[in-house]
Symmetry: C2
Subunit: 382 residues, 2 copies
């Protein structure tokens, strides 16, 4: 594809409080008779899985329920899901939850339709055959998996989080109901929103950014800066709804513009140490922005302008003050901003950075980086 | 659908100079063997139809070519196209051109797959069966038909432009290549860009606007204000590319948020008098914005802020000055801004406004308007 041609692809979106009730209708419109529903224990406990069962029943749809999914979902869980999807003769995949159930659901849809193992598809554009229709319902304002062409699955034996990227991984329909966030803990809301912030920042400066992704990136940054503190404190539905808008916008942006070095490193950390994905960005993102500054000064100044609410004298001043302010913002949320809290033993850092240097996300980072550059950055962040 | 649930649906987009060359590949990906290509004499003369033939041949795709299309495309042209589509056993519809060939192509895809006549589907959500895959290639930065769920077809016997609105009218793929605009005349570039401006303004204040449409509306207004004068003067490719971005953004916005009174009246004028669609808005839009002001003061002030490049003292001042400035902007393009140039005989105005009061676009106008309100407005604009 010529370098100056940009692609933009997003699912059909149903957005709003109460939109969950369209789960059955949406699946039916895609031809569903028996749905393979992927979710997890947390969503069961908060009652959302039962709600979905009810909406599927109202449309007289059969359902096979699969909940053998953990954070940083595992390759063997995906394989088992795909086996069951075929055995149960399902025809639509529905994902309900945060990034983990949704990414697992995508992996299952992929393997069930394309065969082999999920490892066969690691990297970009390696999926040949169409996937079954997918309806996704995010329960956290963060991962963006419901709108993106990404799925991230943990290769347990290599301890690597594999990035699988393909247009066919964009779900057909995303149902985004902000009321689902009301049952989430403060820490989950924060981790998810910060993941969306990292999506927004990295997609904005990505080498693949386009006019169609940039406005979504900037909107997401603005909304998260304003509404996350309120949402974390009060869980007010207005603030949560704004985080959902931000997460969806950031998802549209990174799905089409891809990400950068922060996510390359975050995938390594998730694979090697099973770290909570959303809590890695406060540690790394400001450092990555500083590293990228020489390659995209104007763009980081634009981010700074949003973070600060105004421009300072020069691009450089605005950019640097913006990065500082974002780091303070993370600290004010009372989450760790030092890498040592995630990587207790710094001697693992070189291996971690070598792994990150093979991640697809690094290809679109605005400034070239070898594993030694990343090691230097990690040492500063430690 | 609950009032607080918003839908957002856009095609997959290929954007950039030279992206036309993916025409064959895109059709093939959708399973094409024989393409029904709709275009017109203008596109033939400028050589783009031959280019498309060539790109289809390179992918060894058959093609049936249909060019019996005029501005404000007619119902009988759509019926004849649908007959030929079936007779020739085509499997993908490709539209190449401005709004007229693209809207005709959508009507053909609709009737070929759903039967009956195009009149059966007038209004919103009346299409039951799926349409054949559609690949659209806009040649003007304006209509947004390549991304929208609208098609507008002229009912010749009633002299009415029918609005047909359905999610299934969103093409599968839109290929947006700004180099196609380089062969357009100054007046076509202006008419198309002003159509996009009207899409942006009306979708922004629409009752169905959402956070996902609003940012696209505002971006389009900003880009057209900045780049249309340059594009009209110099036809520089950078300026034309920015008009394409604006047109696509405005298309994403109005497709999902719908339009308002300006377009309701414009459809009446097109149906009754065969007026050039893009040249109606400079006449009506400022008046419609003034009429709508009490219902959406903040939003029209936001538009004013973009048009003026700054805020004045109050919302009201900013909004009114913005409307004035936009009217001046139209005058500076040396196009008529008086309704008498389109409707020579004012005694036709009552019939025109009664027709407009049945147009679907009026349902989302932010301020209620009966046909007498529109008549009053038309008299002021005359």
């Amino acid at each position: 594809m010529a370098l100056n041609v940009r692609k933009f692809s997003v699912p059909e979106i149903f957005f709003g409080r109460g939109s969950l009730k369209y789960a059955g209708l949406c699946a039916k419109r895609l031809g569903a008779e028996k749905i393979f529903l992927v979710s997890d224990a947390g969503l069961e406990k908060s009652g959302w899985v039962d709600k979905v069962f009810q909406f599927l029943e109202e449309e007289k749809l059969d359902c096979f329920y699969f909940s053998d999914v953990v954070a940083n979902p595992r390759d063997f869980q995906v394989q088992e899901g795909a086996r069951l999807y075929r055995e149960e003769r399902c025809d639509v995949v529905m994902g309900l939850g945060g990034g983990s159930p949704m990414d697992a659901a995508k992996g299952i849809a992929l393997v069930a339709s394309n065969g082999g193992t999920v490892h066969d598809y690691e990297g970009a554009n390696r999926i040949q055959r169409p996937l079954p229709p997918m309806v996704f319902i995010p329960s956290t304002g963060g991962s963006g998996s419901d709108v993106s062409q990404f799925t991230i699955v943990n290769d347990v034996s290599r301890r690597v989080k594999m990035s699988i990227i393909s247009r066919t991984l964009v779900p057909n329909i995303s149902i985004i109901d902000p009321t689902l966030l009301t049952t989430k803990s403060r820490s989950l809301i924060i981790a998810a929103a910060i993941d969306a912030m990292a999506h927004a920042v990295e997609s904005y400066v990505s080498l693949l950014a386009s006019p169609f992704t940039e406005i979504h990136s900037l909107k997401a940054i603005e909304l998260i800066m304003t509404h996350l503190p309120v949402a974390a404190e009060t869980r007010a539905i207005d603030a949560l709804e704004n985080l959902c808008i931000a997460s969806t916008s950031a998802g549209m942006a990174f799905s089409n513009a891809s990400l950068g070095m922060d996510h390359a490193l975050a995938h390594s950390l998730g694979g090697m140490l099973d770290a909570v994905h959303g809590l890695i960005h406060p540690v790394l993102l400001p450092h990555v922005m500083r590293y990228n500054l020489p390659a995209c000064r104007e763009k980081i100044a634009k981010i700074g302008e949003i973070v600060l609410g105004r421009r300072l004298g020069s691009d450089d001043e605005t950019a640097l003050a913006g990065i500082e302010k974002m780091a303070e913002y993370f600290e004010d949320l009372h989450i760790s901003t030092r890498l040592r809290d995630i990587v207790p033993d710094p001697s693992t850092l070189p291996r971690l950075c070598r792994m990150a240097s093979h991640d697809s996300c690094l290809l679109t980072n605005p400034r070239t980086a070898g594993w030694e550059d990343m090691l230097q950055l990690c040492k500063e962040a430690w």
